[in-house]
């Protein structure tokens, strides 16, 4: 009985040794690069979902308030009123949007000056956002139509908000990490 167990143990040891002696494989060389792309994509997706959802909700609320008012007016009056309202709103909007844009830009500049350094993926995102803002500035300088201007200012403001949030990300991650440490378990 003991002999049998001894033989089996020796066989097990021999198998373990043979398995451990198998040569190591080499993982593909670009593993980290591929993973870094995945991280950047994931972060972008999360950031977009954080901005897109509130924006869609706000647009939905605004539409819900505006639609019943338009429906109450008779058709011809409604068309004229709508056009006039659109023009007035567009001009007022452009001024308001431009002022808001200035405030956002000051905010981003302050974050740039005082904020934590960005990691490589976030830095790439920030550069991309700044490029897009520059492109919109070019388009704004060539546009005289107030409706088109309003749309461009809105895009500019949305990009500035994203840029600001990107700058704030290290703080929010740190806060999340601290919160997670207090109430989670390991293994």
């Amino acid at each position: 009985m003991h002999d049998r167990l001894d033989r089996q143990r020796m066989n097990d040891d021999a198998l373990a040794a043979a398995l451990r002696a198998l040569p190591m494989g080499e993982p593909p060389g670009n593993g980290w690069q591929r993973l870094a792309v995945r991280i950047a994509r994931e972060r972008r997706r999360r950031l977009l979902s954080r901005i897109a959802l509130p924006a869609a909700l706000a647009a939905g609320v605004a539409f819900a308030v505006w639609l019943p008012q338009v429906r109450r007016a008779p058709a011809p009056v409604r068309a004229v009123a709508q056009q006039a309202a659109t023009n007035r709103a567009a001009i007022a909007d452009v001024a308001a949007l431009r002022a808001h844009s200035q405030r956002l830009q000051d905010w981003v500049r302050t974050l740039d000056r005082e904020g934590a350094p960005l990691d490589a993926a976030a830095l790439a995102d920030a550069v991309s956002l700044q490029n897009r803002i520059g492109l919109i500035d070019l388009q704004l300088s060539a546009t005289h139509d107030s409706s088109a201007s309003a749309a461009l200012w809105q895009q500019r403001n949305a990009l500035l908000e994203r840029l600001g949030l990107l700058r704030l990300q290290p703080y929010s991650v740190a806060m999340q990490t601290r919160a997670a440490r207090t109430d989670t378990t390991v293994l």
Binding site: A14, L15, R20, L22, M24, G25, L35, D119, A180, V186
Partner: protein
């Protein structure tokens, strides 16, 4: 030589990883990439699956590093993530080849063919085992898991682990005998339920 997970990670890197610092993550990734990839390769038997398991497990480590409290060594925590990730994939994809375990060469005391087999032959035989049996064999003999730990990981009983180990060992013996005698082992892999 099998790559070892058992590497010490400096507290500074760990602290930075827990703050989700990408540079620290890259450092940890590069330190453990080879060991984790090789473990995933041995569990799955496929290089493409090993790469996906490695990345999914590493991303989980990055996302959950804040939850790591240091009760166990970091490498053990990371290794567990790799095994978990592979098990999740196994359950999702039902990758394992179901096999009839024939007990014709059931004598566990017979001379061990792995002692004589070269590494390529052993490697080939190992990859022909059903996924579950291969993983149990590897975790038990190479990674040093106990039957209790294997049972916990698989969500099964201790006797499941023991049975998979015994049957996997027996099948490995058969495959190595067949390889030695020039027989075609693939015909033995059937489609009847796993043990």
């Amino acid at each position: 030589m099998t790559p070892s997970f058992q590497q010490h990670i400096e507290p500074e890197w760990l602290a930075r990883l827990q703050r989700r610092d990408v540079a620290a993550f890259e450092h940890v990734y590069r330190r453990f990439e080879r060991a984790a990839w090789n473990l995933a390769l041995r569990l799955s038997g496929r290089a493409d699956v090993a790469q996906e398991v490695l990345h999914d497990a590493m991303l989980k480590a990055f996302e959950r590093a804040g939850q790591y409290r240091g009760d166990a060594p970091f490498w053990a925590w990371l290794r567990k993530l790799v095994v978990n990730e592979w098990l999740m994939r196994l359950r999702r994809d039902r990758m394992q080849l179901f096999e009839v375990f024939t007990d014709s060469l059931a004598d566990d005391e017979a001379a061990a063919p792995w002692a004589m087999a070269d590494s390529a032959t052993l490697d080939r035989a190992l990859n022909r085992l059903p996924d579950t049996a291969r993983a149990v064999l590897w975790l038990y003999h190479v990674e040093g898991y106990t039957h209790i730990e294997i049972a916990e990981q698989f969500g099964r009983s201790v006797s499941f682990s023991k049975s998979q180990l015994a049957r996997g060992t027996r099948r490995l013996r058969e495959l190595l005998h067949m390889d030695k005698n020039g027989e075609d082992a693939s015909c033995m892999i059937g489609s009847i339920g796993n043990a």
